[in-house]
Protein backbone atom coordinates (compact mmCIF):
# COMPACT_ATOMS: atom_id res chain seq x y z
CA UNK A 1 0.00 0.00 0.00
CA UNK A 2 1.39 3.42 -0.87
CA UNK A 3 2.09 6.08 1.70
CA UNK A 4 -0.74 8.33 0.45
CA UNK A 5 -3.48 5.69 0.58
CA UNK A 6 -2.20 4.57 3.99
CA UNK A 7 -2.56 8.12 5.18
CA UNK A 8 -6.08 8.37 3.71
CA UNK A 9 -7.09 5.10 5.31
CA UNK A 10 -5.86 6.31 8.65
CA UNK A 11 -7.63 9.67 8.31
CA UNK A 12 -10.86 7.88 7.43
CA UNK A 13 -10.34 5.51 10.34
CA UNK A 14 -9.85 8.39 12.74
CA UNK A 15 -13.01 10.14 11.50
CA UNK A 16 -14.97 6.88 11.89
CA UNK A 17 -13.51 6.40 15.35
CA UNK A 18 -14.34 9.97 16.32
CA UNK A 19 -17.98 9.60 15.20
CA UNK A 20 -18.27 6.30 17.02
CA UNK A 21 -16.80 7.89 20.15
CA UNK A 22 -19.18 10.85 20.02
CA UNK A 23 -22.19 8.51 19.61
CA UNK A 24 -20.90 6.31 22.42
CA UNK A 25 -20.29 9.40 24.58
CA UNK A 26 -23.83 10.70 24.13
CA UNK A 27 -25.31 7.29 24.97
CA UNK A 28 -23.05 7.11 28.03
CA UNK A 29 -24.13 10.60 29.17
CA UNK A 30 -27.83 9.71 28.81
CA UNK A 31 -27.47 6.53 30.87
CA UNK A 32 -24.90 7.92 33.34
CA UNK A 33 -27.28 9.48 35.92
CA UNK A 34 -29.06 6.14 36.33
CA UNK A 35 -25.77 4.50 37.30
CA UNK A 36 -23.69 7.26 38.95
CA UNK A 37 -24.73 9.94 41.43
CA UNK A 38 -26.31 12.63 39.15
CA UNK A 39 -24.81 15.64 40.98
CA UNK A 40 -21.34 14.21 40.40
CA UNK A 41 -21.96 13.77 36.66
CA UNK A 42 -23.37 17.30 36.46
CA UNK A 43 -20.21 18.62 38.14
CA UNK A 44 -18.13 16.75 35.57
CA UNK A 45 -20.20 18.21 32.71
CA UNK A 46 -19.79 21.78 33.99
CA UNK A 47 -16.04 21.37 34.33
CA UNK A 48 -15.80 19.61 30.95
CA UNK A 49 -17.52 22.56 29.27
CA UNK A 50 -15.25 24.96 31.19
CA UNK A 51 -12.15 23.07 30.00
CA UNK A 52 -13.39 22.98 26.39
CA UNK A 53 -14.04 26.73 26.49
CA UNK A 54 -10.52 27.24 27.84
CA UNK A 55 -9.11 24.96 25.16
CA UNK A 56 -10.76 27.09 22.47
CA UNK A 57 -8.28 29.77 23.50
CA UNK A 58 -5.18 27.71 24.35
CA UNK A 59 -5.55 24.86 21.88
CA UNK A 60 -6.90 26.66 18.85
CA UNK A 61 -5.60 30.23 19.23
CA UNK A 62 -2.40 29.51 21.15
CA UNK A 63 -3.16 31.93 24.01
CA UNK A 64 -2.52 30.69 27.55
CA UNK A 65 -4.94 32.44 29.88
CA UNK A 66 -4.08 32.05 33.56
CA UNK A 67 -7.23 33.85 34.61
CA UNK A 68 -10.19 31.86 33.37
CA UNK A 69 -11.48 31.33 36.91
CA UNK A 70 -12.64 34.96 36.81
CA UNK A 71 -15.16 34.10 34.07
CA UNK A 72 -16.22 30.77 35.54
CA UNK A 73 -16.61 32.03 39.10
CA UNK A 74 -17.74 35.52 38.07
CA UNK A 75 -20.63 34.11 36.03
CA UNK A 76 -21.56 31.87 38.96
CA UNK A 77 -21.82 34.97 41.18
CA UNK A 78 -23.87 36.96 38.65
CA UNK A 79 -26.27 34.07 38.06
CA UNK A 80 -26.64 33.22 41.75
CA UNK A 81 -27.25 36.87 42.66
CA UNK A 82 -29.87 37.43 39.94
CA UNK A 83 -31.75 34.27 40.89
CA UNK A 84 -31.59 34.83 44.64
CA UNK A 85 -31.87 38.61 45.05
CA UNK A 86 -34.02 39.50 42.03
CA UNK A 87 -35.97 36.24 41.80
CA UNK A 88 -35.02 35.67 38.17
CA UNK A 89 -35.82 32.27 36.59
CA UNK A 90 -32.81 29.94 36.13
CA UNK A 91 -32.52 30.36 32.34
CA UNK A 92 -32.38 34.17 32.70
CA UNK A 93 -29.79 33.86 35.47
CA UNK A 94 -27.59 31.63 33.32
CA UNK A 95 -27.91 34.03 30.38
CA UNK A 96 -26.96 36.96 32.61
CA UNK A 97 -23.95 35.05 33.95
CA UNK A 98 -22.83 34.22 30.42
CA UNK A 99 -23.27 37.81 29.25
CA UNK A 100 -21.41 39.12 32.32
CA UNK A 101 -18.52 36.75 31.66
CA UNK A 102 -18.42 37.84 28.01
CA UNK A 103 -18.25 41.49 29.08
CA UNK A 104 -15.44 40.74 31.54
CA UNK A 105 -13.71 38.83 28.77
CA UNK A 106 -13.94 41.89 26.55
CA UNK A 107 -12.27 44.13 29.14
CA UNK A 108 -9.63 41.63 30.27
CA UNK A 109 -8.93 40.48 26.73
CA UNK A 110 -8.56 44.05 25.49
CA UNK A 111 -5.81 44.65 28.06
CA UNK A 112 -4.14 41.25 27.81
CA UNK A 113 -3.77 41.02 24.02
CA UNK A 114 -1.53 44.05 24.14
CA UNK A 115 1.28 41.69 25.15
CA UNK A 116 2.19 38.23 23.90
CA UNK A 117 3.22 34.81 25.15
CA UNK A 118 4.44 34.68 28.69
CA UNK A 119 3.30 38.24 29.45
CA UNK A 120 -0.22 37.41 28.26
CA UNK A 121 -0.36 34.63 30.84
CA UNK A 122 0.89 36.90 33.64
CA UNK A 123 -1.52 39.72 32.76
CA UNK A 124 -4.57 37.44 32.72
CA UNK A 125 -3.45 35.97 36.05
CA UNK A 126 -3.02 39.42 37.59
CA UNK A 127 -6.37 40.72 36.30
CA UNK A 128 -8.17 37.62 37.55
CA UNK A 129 -6.53 38.09 40.96
CA UNK A 130 -7.76 41.67 40.94
CA UNK A 131 -11.27 40.35 40.33
CA UNK A 132 -10.76 37.89 43.20
CA UNK A 133 -9.88 40.73 45.59
CA UNK A 134 -12.90 42.62 44.29
CA UNK A 135 -15.13 39.61 45.10
CA UNK A 136 -13.60 39.34 48.59
CA UNK A 137 -14.53 42.95 49.34
CA UNK A 138 -17.75 43.53 47.40
CA UNK A 139 -20.92 43.12 49.45
CA UNK A 140 -23.06 41.32 46.83
CA UNK A 141 -20.78 38.23 46.94
CA UNK A 142 -21.40 37.85 50.69
CA UNK A 143 -17.67 37.43 51.42
CA UNK A 144 -16.35 34.15 52.78
CA UNK A 145 -19.83 32.59 52.96
CA UNK A 146 -20.64 33.09 49.30
CA UNK A 147 -24.18 33.28 47.93
CA UNK A 148 -25.93 30.31 49.51
CA UNK A 149 -29.36 28.76 49.02
CA UNK A 150 -29.95 29.71 45.40
CA UNK A 151 -33.29 28.27 44.29
CA UNK A 152 -33.20 26.04 41.21
CA UNK A 153 -36.66 27.29 40.27
CA UNK A 154 -38.75 26.34 37.28
CA UNK A 155 -37.34 26.42 33.79
CA UNK A 156 -39.38 28.61 31.39
CA UNK A 157 -41.97 28.76 34.15
CA UNK A 158 -43.13 25.16 33.55
CA UNK A 159 -40.33 22.61 34.17
CA UNK A 160 -39.46 22.07 37.83
CA UNK A 161 -35.68 21.78 38.16
CA UNK A 162 -35.76 20.46 41.72
CA UNK A 163 -36.19 16.91 40.42
CA UNK A 164 -32.61 15.57 40.03
CA UNK A 165 -33.21 13.90 36.65
CA UNK A 166 -34.87 16.99 35.15
CA UNK A 167 -31.93 19.08 36.35
CA UNK A 168 -29.53 16.54 34.88
CA UNK A 169 -31.02 16.64 31.39
CA UNK A 170 -31.14 20.45 31.49
CA UNK A 171 -27.42 20.51 32.28
CA UNK A 172 -26.73 17.90 29.59
CA UNK A 173 -28.59 20.03 27.04
CA UNK A 174 -26.51 23.10 27.97
CA UNK A 175 -23.33 21.04 27.82
CA UNK A 176 -24.09 19.63 24.37
CA UNK A 177 -25.11 23.07 23.12
CA UNK A 178 -21.83 24.56 24.40
CA UNK A 179 -19.71 21.78 22.90
CA UNK A 180 -21.57 22.09 19.59
CA UNK A 181 -20.89 25.85 19.58
CA UNK A 182 -17.18 25.25 20.19
CA UNK A 183 -17.08 22.59 17.47
CA UNK A 184 -18.74 24.99 15.02
CA UNK A 185 -16.36 27.83 15.93
CA UNK A 186 -13.27 25.64 15.58
CA UNK A 187 -14.31 24.25 12.20
CA UNK A 188 -15.46 27.54 10.70
CA UNK A 189 -13.35 29.87 8.52
CA UNK A 190 -12.99 31.99 11.66
CA UNK A 191 -11.54 28.97 13.47
CA UNK A 192 -9.06 28.40 10.65
CA UNK A 193 -7.80 31.96 11.04
CA UNK A 194 -7.42 31.38 14.78
CA UNK A 195 -5.30 28.32 14.03
CA UNK A 196 -3.17 30.29 11.60
CA UNK A 197 -2.54 32.84 14.36
CA UNK A 198 -1.51 29.98 16.66
CA UNK A 199 0.87 28.55 14.07
CA UNK A 200 2.43 31.78 12.88
CA UNK A 201 1.13 35.10 14.08
CA UNK A 202 3.43 37.24 11.94
CA UNK A 203 2.40 35.38 8.80
CA UNK A 204 -1.27 35.92 9.65
CA UNK A 205 -0.56 39.63 10.04
CA UNK A 206 1.27 39.74 6.71
CA UNK A 207 -1.73 38.07 5.05
CA UNK A 208 -3.78 41.06 6.13
CA UNK A 209 -5.73 39.70 9.08
CA UNK A 210 -6.22 42.07 12.00
CA UNK A 211 -4.86 39.51 14.43
CA UNK A 212 -5.74 41.59 17.49
CA UNK A 213 -9.46 41.54 16.68
CA UNK A 214 -9.48 37.80 16.07
CA UNK A 215 -7.66 37.16 19.34
CA UNK A 216 -10.07 39.40 21.21
CA UNK A 217 -13.09 37.69 19.60
CA UNK A 218 -11.71 34.27 20.56
CA UNK A 219 -11.05 35.52 24.09
CA UNK A 220 -14.61 36.83 24.48
CA UNK A 221 -16.15 33.60 23.12
CA UNK A 222 -13.98 31.49 25.41
CA UNK A 223 -14.90 33.69 28.39
CA UNK A 224 -18.62 33.53 27.58
CA UNK A 225 -18.60 29.73 27.30
CA UNK A 226 -16.59 29.44 30.53
CA UNK A 227 -19.24 31.70 32.06
CA UNK A 228 -22.02 29.45 30.74
CA UNK A 229 -20.35 26.53 32.54
CA UNK A 230 -19.89 28.53 35.77
CA UNK A 231 -23.45 29.89 35.83
CA UNK A 232 -24.87 26.39 35.24
CA UNK A 233 -22.73 25.07 38.09
CA UNK A 234 -24.19 27.75 40.38
CA UNK A 235 -27.73 26.50 39.59
CA UNK A 236 -26.71 22.84 40.06
CA UNK A 237 -25.03 23.34 43.43
CA UNK A 238 -27.29 26.25 44.45
CA UNK A 239 -24.37 28.40 45.58
CA UNK A 240 -21.51 30.58 44.33
CA UNK A 241 -18.35 30.96 46.40
CA UNK A 242 -14.85 32.42 46.30
CA UNK A 243 -13.35 28.99 45.45
CA UNK A 244 -14.40 29.37 41.82
CA UNK A 245 -12.58 32.69 41.31
CA UNK A 246 -9.21 31.72 42.84
CA UNK A 247 -6.01 31.29 40.84
CA UNK A 248 -6.04 27.62 41.87
CA UNK A 249 -9.20 27.23 39.78
CA UNK A 250 -7.49 28.88 36.81
CA UNK A 251 -4.66 26.38 37.28
CA UNK A 252 -7.09 23.48 37.53
CA UNK A 253 -8.66 24.16 34.14
CA UNK A 254 -5.19 24.35 32.59
CA UNK A 255 -4.40 20.97 34.13
CA UNK A 256 -7.60 19.40 32.76
CA UNK A 257 -6.76 20.60 29.26
CA UNK A 258 -3.09 19.65 29.47
CA UNK A 259 -3.83 16.19 30.85
CA UNK A 260 -6.53 15.43 28.29
CA UNK A 261 -4.75 16.92 25.29
CA UNK A 262 -4.33 20.56 24.25
CA UNK A 263 -5.96 21.35 20.91
CA UNK A 264 -8.16 18.25 20.70
CA UNK A 265 -11.96 18.30 20.90
CA UNK A 266 -12.30 15.36 23.28
CA UNK A 267 -9.15 15.89 25.38
CA UNK A 268 -10.43 18.54 27.79
CA UNK A 269 -13.56 16.45 28.45
CA UNK A 270 -11.43 13.43 29.37
CA UNK A 271 -9.09 15.63 31.44
CA UNK A 272 -11.98 17.27 33.30
CA UNK A 273 -13.50 13.87 34.08
CA UNK A 274 -10.20 12.55 35.41
CA UNK A 275 -9.37 15.63 37.50
CA UNK A 276 -12.87 15.86 39.03
CA UNK A 277 -12.83 12.10 39.68
CA UNK A 278 -9.38 12.27 41.23
CA UNK A 279 -10.37 15.14 43.51
CA UNK A 280 -13.43 13.21 44.60
CA UNK A 281 -11.29 10.18 45.44
CA UNK A 282 -8.61 12.20 47.23
CA UNK A 283 -11.17 14.16 49.24
CA UNK A 284 -11.89 11.03 51.29
CA UNK A 285 -8.30 9.71 51.42
CA UNK A 286 -6.66 12.61 53.24
CA UNK A 287 -3.91 12.96 50.63
CA UNK A 288 -3.65 16.67 49.76
CA UNK A 289 -5.15 17.50 46.34
CA UNK A 290 -2.63 20.29 45.63
CA UNK A 291 0.32 17.90 45.83
CA UNK A 292 -1.39 15.47 43.43
CA UNK A 293 -2.31 18.22 40.94
CA UNK A 294 1.19 19.69 41.17
CA UNK A 295 2.79 16.32 40.48
CA UNK A 296 0.51 15.63 37.49
CA UNK A 297 1.39 19.08 36.13
CA UNK A 298 5.13 18.35 36.37
CA UNK A 299 4.84 14.89 34.83
CA UNK A 300 2.61 16.14 32.00
CA UNK A 301 4.98 18.96 31.10
CA UNK A 302 8.10 16.78 31.26
CA UNK A 303 7.05 13.61 29.46
CA UNK A 304 3.40 13.79 28.43
CA UNK A 305 2.86 17.09 26.67
CA UNK A 306 0.34 15.79 24.13
CA UNK A 307 -2.01 14.59 26.85
CA UNK A 308 -4.01 11.37 26.85
CA UNK A 309 -6.17 12.01 23.77
CA UNK A 310 -3.26 13.64 21.93
CA UNK A 311 -1.14 10.52 22.52
CA UNK A 312 -3.94 8.28 21.27
CA UNK A 313 -4.21 10.35 18.09
CA UNK A 314 -0.48 10.19 17.44
CA UNK A 315 0.20 6.57 18.45
CA UNK A 316 -2.81 4.77 17.00
CA UNK A 317 -4.10 7.03 14.27
CA UNK A 318 -0.90 8.62 13.04
CA UNK A 319 -2.41 12.06 13.32
CA UNK A 320 -0.29 15.01 14.42
CA UNK A 321 -1.34 16.65 17.65
Amino acid sequence: MSEATLHQERAAASVRLERALVALGIVALITAPFVIYPIFVMKMLCFALFACAFNLLLGYTGLLSFGHAAFFGGAAYFCAYAVKAWGWPPEAGILLGTAGAALMGLVMGFLAIRRQGIYFAMITLALAQMFYFFCVQASFTEGEDGIQGVARGTLFGVIDLNAPMTMYFFVLAIYLLGIFAIWRIVNSPFGMILRSIRENENRAISLGYSVGRYKLAAFVMSAALAGLAGATKAIVFQFATLTDVTWQMSGEVILMTLLGGIGTMVGPVVGAGLVVGLENTLATSGFPVTIATGLIFMVCVLIFRRGIVGEIYVRWLGRGG
Binding site: I118, A121, I123, T290
Partner: protein
Protein backbone atom coordinates in the same frame (compact mmCIF):
# COMPACT_ATOMS: atom_id res chain seq x y z
CA UNK B 1 -0.69 67.82 64.90
CA UNK B 2 1.02 68.09 61.51
CA UNK B 3 -1.24 66.88 58.68
CA UNK B 4 -1.00 66.34 54.91
CA UNK B 5 -4.35 66.49 53.04
CA UNK B 6 -6.07 65.96 56.39
CA UNK B 7 -4.02 62.84 57.18
CA UNK B 8 -1.75 62.90 60.26
CA UNK B 9 1.85 62.83 59.06
CA UNK B 10 2.64 60.01 61.49
CA UNK B 11 0.06 57.75 59.83
CA UNK B 12 1.28 58.74 56.39
CA UNK B 13 4.92 57.98 57.18
CA UNK B 14 3.95 54.77 58.93
CA UNK B 15 2.09 53.48 55.87
CA UNK B 16 4.89 54.66 53.58
CA UNK B 17 7.29 52.57 55.67
CA UNK B 18 5.01 49.54 55.33
CA UNK B 19 4.91 50.25 51.60
CA UNK B 20 8.69 50.50 51.48
CA UNK B 21 9.00 47.14 53.28
CA UNK B 22 6.57 45.48 50.85
CA UNK B 23 8.38 47.22 48.01
CA UNK B 24 11.68 45.76 49.23
CA UNK B 25 10.27 42.26 48.81
CA UNK B 26 8.67 43.07 45.45
CA UNK B 27 12.03 44.41 44.29
CA UNK B 28 14.04 41.37 45.47
CA UNK B 29 11.56 38.90 44.00
CA UNK B 30 11.05 40.65 40.66
CA UNK B 31 14.83 41.00 40.43
CA UNK B 32 15.17 37.22 40.77
CA UNK B 33 12.43 36.65 38.20
CA UNK B 34 14.15 39.02 35.78
CA UNK B 35 17.55 37.35 36.24
CA UNK B 36 16.07 33.90 35.58
CA UNK B 37 13.93 35.07 32.67
CA UNK B 38 16.83 36.95 31.10
CA UNK B 39 18.88 33.81 30.54
CA UNK B 40 16.51 30.86 30.82
CA UNK B 41 13.46 32.44 29.14
CA UNK B 42 11.37 30.83 31.85
CA UNK B 43 8.93 32.63 34.09
CA UNK B 44 9.52 31.05 37.44
CA UNK B 45 6.08 30.54 38.97
CA UNK B 46 7.78 28.71 41.84
CA UNK B 47 9.46 31.95 42.92
CA UNK B 48 6.84 32.57 45.59
CA UNK B 49 7.15 28.98 46.80
CA UNK B 50 10.96 29.35 47.01
CA UNK B 51 10.47 32.52 49.05
CA UNK B 52 8.15 30.60 51.39
CA UNK B 53 10.67 27.75 51.47
CA UNK B 54 13.36 30.24 52.57
CA UNK B 55 11.24 31.52 55.45
CA UNK B 56 10.30 27.99 56.50
CA UNK B 57 13.85 26.64 56.40
CA UNK B 58 14.89 29.56 58.59
CA UNK B 59 12.06 28.74 60.99
CA UNK B 60 12.88 25.01 61.05
CA UNK B 61 16.61 25.66 61.56
CA UNK B 62 15.72 27.74 64.60
CA UNK B 63 13.15 25.35 66.08
CA UNK B 64 14.90 22.03 65.45
CA UNK B 65 18.63 22.86 65.38
CA UNK B 66 18.73 26.08 67.37
CA UNK B 67 20.42 27.89 64.49
CA UNK B 68 19.59 31.58 64.83
CA UNK B 69 18.84 34.38 62.40
CA UNK B 70 22.36 35.47 61.44
CA UNK B 71 23.74 32.05 60.44
CA UNK B 72 20.38 31.35 58.74
CA UNK B 73 20.88 34.48 56.62
CA UNK B 74 23.79 32.63 54.97
CA UNK B 75 22.55 29.04 55.21
CA UNK B 76 19.03 29.58 53.85
CA UNK B 77 20.00 31.14 50.49
CA UNK B 78 22.61 28.38 50.13
CA UNK B 79 20.08 25.60 50.72
CA UNK B 80 17.36 27.15 48.55
CA UNK B 81 19.95 27.90 45.86
CA UNK B 82 21.16 24.28 45.84
CA UNK B 83 17.56 23.09 45.69
CA UNK B 84 16.98 25.40 42.73
CA UNK B 85 20.09 24.08 40.96
CA UNK B 86 18.90 20.50 41.44
CA UNK B 87 15.49 21.40 39.97
CA UNK B 88 17.16 23.05 37.00
CA UNK B 89 19.41 20.03 36.33
CA UNK B 90 16.70 17.41 36.72
CA UNK B 91 13.77 19.14 35.02
CA UNK B 92 14.02 22.68 33.68
CA UNK B 93 17.06 21.94 31.50
CA UNK B 94 14.84 19.64 29.40
CA UNK B 95 12.38 22.43 28.66
CA UNK B 96 14.58 25.08 27.05
CA UNK B 97 13.84 23.99 23.49
CA UNK B 98 10.08 24.19 24.03
CA UNK B 99 7.59 27.03 24.15
CA UNK B 100 8.39 29.13 27.27
CA UNK B 101 4.82 28.48 28.45
CA UNK B 102 5.84 24.95 29.42
CA UNK B 103 8.41 26.38 31.82
CA UNK B 104 5.65 28.44 33.41
CA UNK B 105 3.39 25.38 33.72
CA UNK B 106 6.15 23.19 35.15
CA UNK B 107 7.13 25.73 37.79
CA UNK B 108 3.42 26.21 38.58
CA UNK B 109 3.20 22.49 39.33
CA UNK B 110 6.37 22.69 41.40
CA UNK B 111 4.92 25.60 43.39
CA UNK B 112 1.75 23.58 44.10
CA UNK B 113 3.80 20.62 45.34
CA UNK B 114 6.10 22.67 47.61
CA UNK B 115 3.15 24.58 49.02
CA UNK B 116 1.05 21.42 49.37
CA UNK B 117 3.78 19.61 51.32
CA UNK B 118 4.16 22.44 53.82
CA UNK B 119 0.40 22.85 54.16
CA UNK B 120 0.08 19.14 54.83
CA UNK B 121 2.65 19.14 57.64
CA UNK B 122 2.28 22.61 59.12
CA UNK B 123 -1.31 23.67 58.39
CA UNK B 124 -2.27 27.09 57.11
CA UNK B 125 -1.76 29.09 60.29
CA UNK B 126 1.29 31.32 60.60
CA UNK B 127 4.27 30.64 62.84
CA UNK B 128 5.93 33.63 64.49
CA UNK B 129 9.70 34.13 64.01
CA UNK B 130 11.24 36.42 66.62
CA UNK B 131 13.21 39.49 65.60
CA UNK B 132 16.94 38.92 66.35
CA UNK B 133 17.97 40.58 69.64
CA UNK B 134 20.51 42.81 67.91
CA UNK B 135 17.70 44.45 65.93
CA UNK B 136 14.95 44.37 68.54
CA UNK B 137 13.31 47.60 69.61
CA UNK B 138 13.15 50.79 67.62
CA UNK B 139 14.64 54.19 67.03
CA UNK B 140 12.87 57.50 67.43
CA UNK B 141 13.70 59.52 64.33
CA UNK B 142 12.05 62.63 65.76
CA UNK B 143 9.24 62.65 63.18
CA UNK B 144 8.43 58.95 63.51
CA UNK B 145 9.23 55.74 65.37
CA UNK B 146 11.21 53.25 63.25
CA UNK B 147 11.32 49.60 64.36
CA UNK B 148 14.99 48.65 63.91
CA UNK B 149 14.27 45.40 62.11
CA UNK B 150 12.19 47.15 59.46
CA UNK B 151 14.96 49.64 58.85
CA UNK B 152 17.33 46.70 58.47
CA UNK B 153 15.05 45.04 55.89
CA UNK B 154 15.07 48.15 53.73
CA UNK B 155 18.86 48.49 53.98
CA UNK B 156 19.46 44.77 53.40
CA UNK B 157 17.21 44.64 50.37
CA UNK B 158 18.97 47.68 48.89
CA UNK B 159 22.33 45.95 49.44
CA UNK B 160 21.04 42.75 47.82
CA UNK B 161 19.57 44.58 44.83
CA UNK B 162 22.61 46.77 44.21
CA UNK B 163 24.94 43.80 44.82
CA UNK B 164 23.12 41.68 42.25
CA UNK B 165 23.09 44.52 39.77
CA UNK B 166 26.86 45.02 40.22
CA UNK B 167 27.42 41.26 39.88
CA UNK B 168 25.63 41.22 36.55
CA UNK B 169 26.84 44.52 35.13
CA UNK B 170 30.41 44.79 36.43
CA UNK B 171 31.95 41.34 36.91
CA UNK B 172 33.39 38.83 34.46
CA UNK B 173 30.80 36.22 35.42
CA UNK B 174 28.11 38.82 34.83
CA UNK B 175 29.53 39.62 31.40
CA UNK B 176 29.34 35.90 30.47
CA UNK B 177 25.78 35.92 31.69
CA UNK B 178 24.81 38.95 29.64
CA UNK B 179 26.59 37.57 26.59
CA UNK B 180 24.79 34.24 26.95
CA UNK B 181 21.49 36.12 27.14
CA UNK B 182 22.24 37.71 23.76
CA UNK B 183 23.65 34.66 21.97
CA UNK B 184 24.13 31.39 23.86
CA UNK B 185 25.58 29.44 20.88
CA UNK B 186 28.35 31.95 20.29
CA UNK B 187 29.26 32.13 23.98
CA UNK B 188 29.37 28.33 24.08
CA UNK B 189 31.68 28.37 21.05
CA UNK B 190 34.06 30.66 22.96
CA UNK B 191 34.47 27.90 25.54
CA UNK B 192 32.09 29.10 28.23
CA UNK B 193 30.11 26.28 29.81
CA UNK B 194 26.63 27.62 29.07
CA UNK B 195 24.62 24.74 30.65
CA UNK B 196 26.54 25.34 33.89
CA UNK B 197 25.83 29.05 33.58
CA UNK B 198 22.10 28.30 33.25
CA UNK B 199 22.19 26.10 36.36
CA UNK B 200 24.04 28.77 38.32
CA UNK B 201 21.60 31.44 37.18
CA UNK B 202 18.55 29.51 38.34
CA UNK B 203 20.40 28.78 41.58
CA UNK B 204 21.12 32.50 42.01
CA UNK B 205 17.48 33.41 41.38
CA UNK B 206 16.32 30.75 43.84
CA UNK B 207 18.86 31.92 46.44
CA UNK B 208 17.57 35.49 46.10
CA UNK B 209 14.02 34.25 46.72
CA UNK B 210 15.22 32.24 49.75
CA UNK B 211 17.07 35.27 51.13
CA UNK B 212 13.95 37.40 50.73
CA UNK B 213 12.07 34.68 52.59
CA UNK B 214 14.34 34.63 55.64
CA UNK B 215 14.38 38.45 55.69
CA UNK B 216 10.57 38.38 55.63
CA UNK B 217 10.22 35.76 58.38
CA UNK B 218 10.33 38.22 61.34
CA UNK B 219 8.11 40.77 59.52
CA UNK B 220 5.29 38.51 58.36
CA UNK B 221 4.19 35.22 59.86
CA UNK B 222 5.93 32.15 58.45
CA UNK B 223 3.07 30.39 56.66
CA UNK B 224 2.80 28.00 53.69
CA UNK B 225 0.58 30.53 51.90
CA UNK B 226 2.92 33.52 52.17
CA UNK B 227 4.45 32.92 48.74
CA UNK B 228 1.49 32.32 46.48
CA UNK B 229 -0.30 35.53 47.40
CA UNK B 230 2.85 37.51 46.84
CA UNK B 231 3.92 35.98 43.53
CA UNK B 232 0.87 37.24 41.62
CA UNK B 233 1.48 40.80 42.78
CA UNK B 234 5.12 40.38 41.76
CA UNK B 235 3.96 39.24 38.31
CA UNK B 236 2.01 42.48 38.00
CA UNK B 237 5.16 44.35 39.08
CA UNK B 238 7.09 42.54 36.36
CA UNK B 239 4.48 43.42 33.73
CA UNK B 240 4.66 47.09 34.78
CA UNK B 241 8.45 47.24 34.81
CA UNK B 242 9.16 44.96 31.88
CA UNK B 243 11.84 42.35 32.27
CA UNK B 244 14.27 43.96 29.87
CA UNK B 245 16.32 45.61 32.60
CA UNK B 246 17.46 44.51 36.05
CA UNK B 247 17.43 48.07 37.31
CA UNK B 248 13.89 48.53 35.98
CA UNK B 249 12.66 45.53 37.96
CA UNK B 250 14.21 46.92 41.17
CA UNK B 251 12.91 50.47 40.76
CA UNK B 252 9.39 49.29 39.83
CA UNK B 253 9.31 47.02 42.88
CA UNK B 254 10.00 49.87 45.32
CA UNK B 255 7.69 52.26 43.46
CA UNK B 256 4.69 49.96 43.52
CA UNK B 257 5.29 49.12 47.18
CA UNK B 258 5.17 52.83 48.00
CA UNK B 259 2.08 53.32 45.82
CA UNK B 260 0.38 50.53 47.76
CA UNK B 261 1.34 52.17 51.08
CA UNK B 262 -0.03 55.54 49.94
CA UNK B 263 -3.31 53.94 48.87
CA UNK B 264 -3.68 52.41 52.33
CA UNK B 265 -3.66 55.92 53.76
CA UNK B 266 -6.09 57.57 51.37
CA UNK B 267 -8.39 54.75 50.22
CA UNK B 268 -7.73 51.55 52.23
CA UNK B 269 -10.36 49.46 50.39
CA UNK B 270 -8.37 49.69 47.16
CA UNK B 271 -4.92 48.86 48.59
CA UNK B 272 -5.11 45.25 47.38
CA UNK B 273 -6.13 46.38 43.92
CA UNK B 274 -3.86 49.35 43.28
CA UNK B 275 -0.91 47.40 41.83
CA UNK B 276 -3.23 45.70 39.35
CA UNK B 277 -4.92 48.99 38.43
CA UNK B 278 -1.51 50.53 37.77
CA UNK B 279 -0.69 47.50 35.64
CA UNK B 280 -3.85 48.02 33.58
CA UNK B 281 -3.08 51.72 33.08
CA UNK B 282 0.51 50.98 32.04
CA UNK B 283 -0.75 48.36 29.57
CA UNK B 284 -3.06 50.95 28.02
CA UNK B 285 -0.49 53.72 27.78
CA UNK B 286 2.81 51.88 27.38
CA UNK B 287 2.20 48.22 26.54
CA UNK B 288 5.90 47.28 26.63
CA UNK B 289 6.16 48.32 30.30
CA UNK B 290 7.95 51.27 31.85
CA UNK B 291 11.46 49.93 31.27
CA UNK B 292 10.61 47.19 28.79
CA UNK B 293 12.29 46.51 25.51
CA UNK B 294 10.55 43.34 24.34
CA UNK B 295 6.78 42.95 24.03
Amino acid sequence: MLTVFGIPIQALLGQLLVGLINGSFYAMLSLGLAVIFGLLRIINFAHGALYMLGAFIGYLLLVHLGIGYWPALVLVPLIVGLFGMAVERVALSHLYRLDPLYGLLFTFGLALVIEGVFRYYYGVSGNPYAVPTLLAGGTNLGFMFLPNYRGWVVVASLIVCIGTWLLIEKTRLGSYLRAATENPELVQAFGVNVPLLLTLTYGLGAALAGLAGILAAPVYQVSPLMGSDLIIVVFAVVVVGGMGSILGAIVTGYMLGLAEGLTKVFYPEASNLVVFVIMAIVLLLRPAGLFGRDA
